[in-house]
């Protein structure tokens, strides 16, 4: 095995080991979307009328509508959690160990990203399984075709987390990330309500939702769950992944100095 693959395996194993050690994180990541699914959705169901929009062929319940958005929520929160743990790693110094390994920095960051995405995808599937138990079910094959969509979404949002972590100087500043990244991304998307509903509310809101990369991640998952490929969503998500990864690699460029930023 080459040094590259050995490092990839070790970084993934470390992420997994860390994840296993943080059971609260696993539970929190599941409880959040489940509360939305089983509590909020029940209330919203009556208030929100949904028309038949692709990829749906028939009327669906609100619970069914928000499942892809809640999968996206898991990926989004996990991406930000990765970002948080990277800032923590930098404050604790363990980021230095990674960054001084004799491998290209871009590869090391990519390994970190793959590790966190695997965990995100695992969490999303756990959520889908629980939803299934509550009779919120997709086509059987949809669970398989959703895998690449979840992986791409996880990579994109994880790369966003990496890019943010290179800019956030201290752990304390992370509340700002919650307020200015997670909440706007989630609420200004098609996760909870279809975009035509947003268009009714206002043109500007609709435009913001349409260009929000998170909307495209959610739509990619939504279509994939129904065995369809939304090419526009795929293109935007891939584009988002490339941009965020480039920003992350730029952010961790030694010419800019991670230890200086960490101070």
């Amino acid at each position: 095995m080459t040094a590259y693959l050995i490092a990839l395996r070790a970084i993934i194993a470390r992420e997994a080991l860390r994840y296993v050690g943080q059971r609260e994180r696993f539970l929190a990541a599941l409880v959040r979307p489940l509360v939305w699914l089983l509590v909020f959705a029940a209330g919203f169901r009556a208030a929100l009328g949904l028309s038949i929009i692709p990829p749906y062929q028939t009327y669906i319940t609100y619970e069914t509508y928000i499942v892809p958005g809640l999968c996206g929520m898991i990926l989004l929160f996990n991406g930000m959690q990765t970002s948080l743990s990277l800032v923590y790693d930098r404050e604790m110094g363990s980021m230095k160990v990674l960054m001084t390994a004799p491998l290209p920095r871009g590869w090391l960051l990519f390994c970190k990203l793959v590790g966190s995405t695997l965990i995100s995808v695992l969490q999303a599937y756990t959520f889908l399984a629980i939803a299934w138990l509550f009779d919120i079910r997709m086509e059987a094959l949809g669970y398989l075709t959703a895998l690449p969509a979840l992986a791409i979404g996880g990579l994109m949002l994880g790369a966003l987390g990496l890019a943010i972590s290179s800019r956030v100087k201290q752990l304390e500043n992370f509340a700002g990330v919650m307020n200015f990244v997670i909440f706007p991304m989630f609420f200004l998307s098609s996760a909870l309500y279809p975009l035509w509903k947003m268009a009714e509310a206002g043109e500007l809101l609709f435009v913001i939702c349409s260009i929000n990369p998170f909307t495209h991640v959610v739509e990619l998952i939504r279509f994939a769950l129904y065995l369809e490929i939304n090419l526009a969503a795929l293109g935007w998500s891939m584009w988002g992944l490339v941009v965020c990864l480039a920003l992350a690699i730029f952010g961790y460029d030694p010419a800019r100095g991670i230890s200086r930023q960490g101070k």
Binding site: M1, T2, A3, I6, A7, R9, A10, I11, A13, R14, L17, R18, G21, M92, G93, S94, K96, V97, L98, M99, T100, A101, P102, L103, P104, L108, P254, A255, G257, I258, S259, R260
Partner: protein, 239 residues
Amino acid sequence: MSGLSVQNLSHNYGSKQALDSVSFEVERGKFCALLGPNGAGKSTLYAILTRLIVPEQGSIQIAGADLRKTPLIALKKMGIVFQQTTLDLDLSVRQNLRYFAALHGMSGKVADRQIDAALDRLDMLERAEEKVRSLNGGHKRRTEIARALLPNPEVLLLDEATVGLDTQTRIAITDHVHRLCAEDGLTVLWATHLTDEVRSSDDLIILHQGKVLKSGTALGICGEKPVSEVFMHLIGETQ
């Protein structure tokens, strides 16, 4: 060929000059103490030597490898012990070392053999399965030195490796690193602000306000006088 060569190194943090035309050489197999008060620029120099920062000016050779032109080869030749503990506290000593070994391209039995040998060298083998969180400061440091030795580096860089340790442990660790230098031919750069860690046979660089004030052998710089006296005198002169 020198073990470590630094030429004309300068770096700023905005308007603050952290290092100003720093140049020095450490011969292969020599223990070189880098002595400077807090804020002298030692940590910036280490961040540059380990490529966490790329300097604005200057060149660095690690056992003949140019850090700017061939960074991955240069990184392969160095072992690093940072000032701050960089171990994962929730993993065991062996798990920490395995992770590090993998980052350096080692896995399986090869890695296990290297880990056992490195821990044995630092008298840490019997603690291999203990969680790092349960180790005392001295043992954590030993673990970090063992980890730095895993890829068989030619140059070992230690940034205030004894900070926060009691005197007895400090002496033990300083002795250990001196032995590594003498027995294995490692080139060592040992940053410290504690003058009692410098031996008369060591090379010595005195860094202050980002500049090299003196460089040579400790004996040549200090003669019969205690290092602390010469150090305080030199620092005082510049203020």
